[in-house]
């Protein structure tokens, strides 16, 4: 069996992002393996530990992605394929490029993050499945293989969860609760350097171009209730919390 995780490198959630000339400035920002992709990597390693076979990561992105790929290799992934493309590519174009590699690899299943912590829509997993004509199960919290042909999978819905049986090969996207990812170990880091990392330059043109980026800014409304009439202030506070803050 062969298990593949598709990963991306994103800015660390703790980094403070800046906009320079209408674009997000990534210089000086710590870049990490996307957290939801990390769950995918962990799950792929666990599946391999349980069922044997091979674990592979596939990534599509600029040269700097190599660092995130090395992290996955240090966690225990066997080898990696890096489709190298600088600049922005929309998820559909990415999926088409990835599908070619994934089809050639012929894995038992593909796992990827439910949503990437950059400016991705939640489309990558579904778009890969579409490009491969494979089934997709999103927001996976539990997966169990039934031989090589099927998997029994629990996944989140908006207001609950359901368990489905899906024919393999299929694409799965991760959700919180799937697993607790392991740390890359020091011996793992040292071994990762010797593991195969195949670079494949690709040229694809994006169907979407980013024109301008902004970052949501949170500012205080500076609304102060004077409280001279405590009863009126309490009523006004409840109204604001209900109608404006929408927390009660």
């Amino acid at each position: 069996m062969k298990f593949i995780a598709v990963i991306r490198q994103v800015p660390d959630g703790e980094s403070r992002l800046k906009i320079e000339g209408g674009k997000v400035d990534l210089s000086g920002v710590t870049m990490i393996l996307d957290q939801m992709d990390e769950w995918a990597v962990e799950e792929v390693i666990r599946l391999q530990e349980k069922h044997g076979g091979e674990s592979v990561v596939v990534a599509l992105g600029p040269e700097r992605f190599e660092e995130a790929i090395r992290t996955a290799l240090a966690m225990g992934i066997d080898r990696a394929v890096h489709l190298v493309a600088e600049g922005y590519l929309d998820p559909i174009t990415q999926a088409e490029a990835l599908a070619e590699t994934l089809r050639a690899e012929a894995p038992t299943l593909v796992f990827t993050g439910g949503q990437q912590a950059d400016w991705d829509s939640q489309a990558l997993g579904a778009a890969i499945a579409e490009a491969l004509s494979w089934p997709v199960v999103s927001w996976t919290t539990q997966i169990e293989l039934e031989g090589e042909s099927h998997a029994k999978v629990k996944h989140d819905l908006d207001e609950g969860a359901e368990v489905v049986r899906v024919a393999l090969p299929a694409v799965f996207t991760s959700q919180q609760g799937l697993n607790e990812p392991r740390y890359p170990t020091l011996p793992g880091i040292m071994k990762a350097k010797r593991k195969e990392l195949k670079k494949v330059p690709i040229s694809a043109s994006s169907k979407v171009a980013i024109v301008e980026q902004t970052i949501q800014e949170r500012t205080r409304l500076n609304k102060v209730l004077d409280g001279k009439d405590p009863v009126a202030a309490a009523h006004e506070l409840v109204r604001l919390l209900h109608e404006e803050a929408k927390v009660i």
Partner: protein, 381 residues
């Protein structure tokens, strides 16, 4: 050879791992174990799991064979989380180093196996109640009886002493010979006649266990002797010449934490209608901290590089240790000052930085001893 300040990809990865480990596994529990004055054994187990424990043991003996530069990269990160908790693996390396330097193949195989196959610690026992810096005046006696040495005496301030699987004990076969009578011998945990008593009431670094070790007719196999009779003093000094570099690295980690905490607080706290970070008096303190951190780190890396190159480094280790620990003490002090009254409370992490890093000026040779080493280096030229 050209100067190159860049880290290898591998070093960057292990820095990232240690940084994440400190952020997720050490920092959140540091205050709790400081209050409890208890060793967080769970952290020791996790350090072992990810390969950060006893990693200086060579690969052929089951370790990872990390160099000094890797050690200081990791040390800064772990100490950022908690200097006291970092002292646990650091003191274990201190207990490993004499075996690395002076042990024979059989001894390395035997002892290093005990320290790599499971989460386990080593310790180094030199100081005694009656002597610390004057190491040649030690009084713990070793008397050869057949295939054994019989130890009698007391050691004190021994980090990991009660938890350690192996303790390198320095004892004398003839006190009149001073340093020429010293031996270094490995005592295993549980050896009859060897007891460890935990010392309580430490000012800082309370998450690391500090012990008094008592030897009463403790029979230790002669095959545990490192080197020859009389080599002990040299083994101790050569060990400390190496292991005080990680003390410098830990100091840099504490100072970096002090700067980060102080910067965050200065940006949030307002006085006279603006964040206190807008005042030059505060800005200068932050700038001084960064000047200290950058120079101490650069010099610590240099001392580590000398060590890895096999070049003379005793003076560099002494400079790094004394300079970095004094710089870090001042950084912690100023971080408290910037926090004002809040800095004096346990609720904020900065008072602990000061309590913890005070010890860095004392252990592995006081900073006065470091100055002696540096002065001897100058005068011997």
């Amino acid at each position: 050879m050209p100067i190159d300040f860049s880290l290898t990809d591998e070093q960057k990865e292990l820095q990232k791992l240690a940084r994440r480990f400190a952020r997720e596994q050490i920092a959140p529990i540091a205050a709790l174990y400081d209050a409890k004055e208890e060793v967080p054994w769970g952290v020791v187990e996790k350090l072992h799991e990810v390969g950060l424990l006893n990693a200086i043991i060579p690969e052929e003996y089951g370790g990872l064979g990390l160099g000094m530069l890797e050690e200081v990269i990791i040390g800064e990160e772990l100490a950022w989380g908690c200097m006291g908790i970092y002292t646990i693996p650091m003191a274990s390396d201190l207990g490993i180093t004499p075996i690395l330097l002076a042990g024979n193949h059989e001894q390395k195989q035997r002892f290093f196996k005990m320290l790599t196959e499971k989460p386990a610690l080593a310790a180094f026992a030199l100081s005694e109640p009656g002597n610390g810096s004057d190491a040649a005046a030690l009084r713990t006696r070793a008397v050869r009886e057949g295939d054994h040495y019989v130890l009698n005496g007391t050691k004190t301030w021994i980090s990991n002493g009660g938890e350690a699987e192996t303790v390198v004990v320095f004892a004398t076969i003839a006190p009149a010979l001073r340093h020429k009578g010293v031996i270094a011998i490995v005592v295993e945990k549980g050896t009859p006649g060897f007891t460890a008593h935990k010392l309580h009431g430490k000012m800082g670094q309370r998450a690391s266990g500090t012990y008094e070790l008592v030897f009463e007719d403790c029979r230790v196999p002669a095959e545990n002797l490192l080197g020859q009779e009389g080599d002990g003093f040299k083994i101790a000094m050569n060990t400390l010449d190496k292991t005080r570099i990680p003390v410098a690295a830990g100091s840099v980690g504490v100072a970096r934490r002090a700067l980060e905490e102080a910067t965050r607080y200065a940006k949030e706290r307002e006085a006279f209608g603006k964040p206190i970070a807008d005042f030059q008096a505060i800005q200068f303190k932050l700038a001084e901290m960064l000047m200290g951190i950058e120079t101490a780190r650069a010099y610590t890396y240099y001392a580590a590089w000398l060590t890895d190159q096999g070049l003379p480094q005793a003076h560099a280790a002494a400079i790094a240790k004394a300079y970095a620990s004094e710089m870090a003490f001042e950084a912690a002090n100023q971080a408290i000052q910037i926090h004002g009254g809040f800095g004096y409370m346990h609720e904020y992490p900065v008072e602990k930085l000061l309590r913890d890093v005070k010890l860095n000026q004392i252990y592995e040779g006081t900073n006065e001893i470091q100055r002696l080493i540096i002065a001897r280096h100058i005068l011997s030229q």
